[in-house]
């Protein structure tokens, strides 16, 4: 059976140039970049070259790139790092996040609130289209707000968030962070995140390896390490730097920048085509249709159909897709994002996220549309 991969937002296909770049650092002696000898120097050189590439992807200073073990860790380092530093030096600390953040941020702030009496979390609303409500954000800011974290684009709906307006509203009074993991494949982050202090990205959403990401700082921000250790990454992240992971991330950002225009053009055409087809399906609604969205994501809800059944039948036909929200067991679960948008449960339980990219082929999209139509009409029979 042909595999039709429509789950790029979960993990994008590994790029050939990434595999080629990492090859050298996967065999035999790979020096510890912290060392002083020849092998270590070679490794260090590769890591610093990678740092330059990642800095260019964000338009940041190379010294402000911290390599991490993925997007979740990058978010955690930003959020917990800033909040921990603040709470140790102030009587109270608040952190302001959108209700539609990824669990990488939500679970982290919940943990901080649970563990420290002087830490509180304030949640910012989104409108019915899933766009952050700036007036809600303004109402949550206060003198003790250490950090404001709003994602660049939502991982479930693909809705792009008004990050520039977030920065303006905060006005430099608190540190700002954006989880740009989902946005990275499609949005020019140099311009889009220019007024944000901290940006998290991850490698495997742009064709790089998993367990590889970075936290990028736009300004000199002082924050705690989450993993203290050997003082690596300027003391922000202990542990030997994974040369292959850093090189892989660099190769992925380089390829993403190079293909950017073509990727956006292709994905936009696929998105239009899938949405046009979805509109023909009974009881199907395209989520956030009037909002600005990433071109590589189409989020649909089917009133009266369970995601579990839709995904099962799609899987039987070779289509890899997702309900976008799943718990650690792998079961589809009601989405906190759709709930924040006020989508009724009967619709939210019939969620389907189709995500694709520049390397998706037109015939794959055609096949997907045909199979989706068949599967949906079978479940509605």
């Amino acid at each position: 059976m042909t595999q039709l991969y429509f789950d790029h937002a979960a993990s994008a296909p590994r790029r050939d140039e990434v595999v080629a770049a990492m090859e050298q650092w996967q065999h035999g002696v790979v020096g510890n970049p912290s060392g002083a000898h020849r092998a270590a120097r070679e490794a260090r050189k590769a890591v610093e070259d990678a740092r330059d590439e990642v800095a260019a992807f964000l338009g940041a200073k190379p010294g402000n790139v911290i390599f991490t073990g993925g997007g979740t860790e990058a978010c955690h380092l930003a959020v917990a790092g800033v909040v921990n530093k603040h709470r140790r030096n102030n009587p109270t600390t608040s952190v302001v996040v959108s209700k539609i953040e990824h669990h990488a941020v939500l679970d982290c702030v919940e943990m901080l609130e649970r563990d420290y009496d002087n830490v509180s979390v304030r949640y910012v609303d989104v409108d019915a289209e899933g766009v952050l409500d700036i007036s809600s954000l303004e109402s949550q800011l206060s003198d003790d707000t250490a950090l404001v974290s709003v994602m660049s684009a939502n991982n479930e709906t693909g809705v792009i968030q008004p990050i520039g307006a977030v920065a303006s509203a905060v006005g430099g009074r608190s540190v700002t962070h954006t989880d740009a993991v989902g946005a990275a494949p499609y949005i020019d982050l140099v311009e889009f995140t220019k007024d944000i202090d901290m940006i998290s990205i991850c490698s495997h959403k742009i064709g790089g390896p998993v367990n590889s990401g970075a936290l990028i700082l736009r300004s000199d921000i002082s924050f705690d390490a989450v993993i203290p250790g050997g003082g690596q990454e300027k003391g922000h992240r202990g542990g030997t730097v994974d040369v292959a992971a850093a090189v892989g991330l660099a190769a992925a950002v380089k390829a993403t920048m190079k293909d950017h225009e073509q990727t956006v053009k292709r994905a936009t055409a696929y998105q239009d085509q899938i949405i046009a087809a979805a509109k023909q399906l009974k009881n199907c609604e395209v989520t956030s249709i009037t909002a600005a969205r990433l071109p590589g994501t189409v989020h649909l809800t089917f009133d009266g159909i369970a995601s579990d059944e839709l995904l099962f039948l799609l899987d039987q036909e070779g289509v890899c897709a997702s309900a976008a929200a799943s718990c650690s067991s792998g079961a589809a679960e009601p989405s906190h994002v759709l709930s924040a948008m006020g989508v009724p449960l009967s619709k939210a339980r019939g969620s389907l996220r189709l995500s694709f990219g520049g390397e998706t082929k037109p015939e794959e999209v055609n096949a997907l549309i045909e199979i989706l139509g068949q599967v949906v009409s079978r479940l509605q029979a």
Binding site: A306, D308, S329, G330, A331, E333, L345
Partner: protein
Amino acid sequence: MSGGVDSSVAAGLLIEQGHEVVGATLKLWGGVSDSGCCSVSDVDDARRVAQVLGIDHHVFNYTDEFEKHVVEPFVAGHAAGQSPNPCIECNRFLKFGLLFERAKRLGFEKVATGHHAQVIERDGKHFLVRGEDNQKDQSYVLGYLTEEELSMLLLPIGHMNKTTVRAEGERLGLRTWDKPDSQDVCFIEASKGREVFLRSRIPVTSAKIVDRTTGEVLGETETAELMTVGQRRGVLPGRDGEKRYVSKVDIASQRVEVGTLEQILISRIALDESSLTFSHEDLRDGATVLAQWSAHGIPKRATLRNENGWHIELHEPARPVAVGQSVVLYRESEPTIVEGAAIVAPS
């Protein structure tokens, strides 16, 4: 596939029998669990078993339905001084209700589980019979299944005892082969118990424990909702030194009546007519049946009656049965066939 040895082996045996099998695990309880079948590690076990067996595995989320059909009635029952059996409701509404419907929609011909019970076919009709391993028999919790449901059900390990099941699991190389049996209600943390769970859901009621004949107050309970008729635990002996058993729980008047074993024994159990699963043709007034009202009990001989409402007359007196519990009726035959089930009604 719950992640336990029984359903693991059931899947393995079906594959060996030549069936085309897909593994499914139901995510039922959304809260914290340290027992039963909904933890991430149990799902991981089920998934790994499916991988080793070379079959696809899917996790289906039924947490909302489980809350509505199992947890809420359980809490409401206790709040009313009853003792519903959540496993029966779960099997009835989820495993054999919603999952069967889903299986049909997705194009499956049969649903198999690892329950210790058996399905037999006679004259084109399907019947549920007790499992081979009497200690592990689970026909009680499947007692409400309809003929149509039974016709779609495969119980691949029902003819085996537990030792054989574990040996088969080891032979098949399944990591669950020596996993301990789950014992408790899956949504109640074994380390905290029913009381902590109930307190998190409803305000609990304290009550006086009163001797039913003398009216003497023998003690007090903080949670009358957890007292069940027939129970002795938590009840002090009377002044005569004889053991006392709960005979009545009245939440509204905060009163739990107790009596001696002799005083509380009953010989009549009323059945809620709306819950009866058998038709009048199957079971008539005056029929002799074997009745069981706990998950792992020995069925007791009784006569079915339909005078002043359906009820059974026990041939030997027994401790009282709580309203809300289920009684499963068996035919005294070889094999022992399930003939019907009903919920205990107030007498």
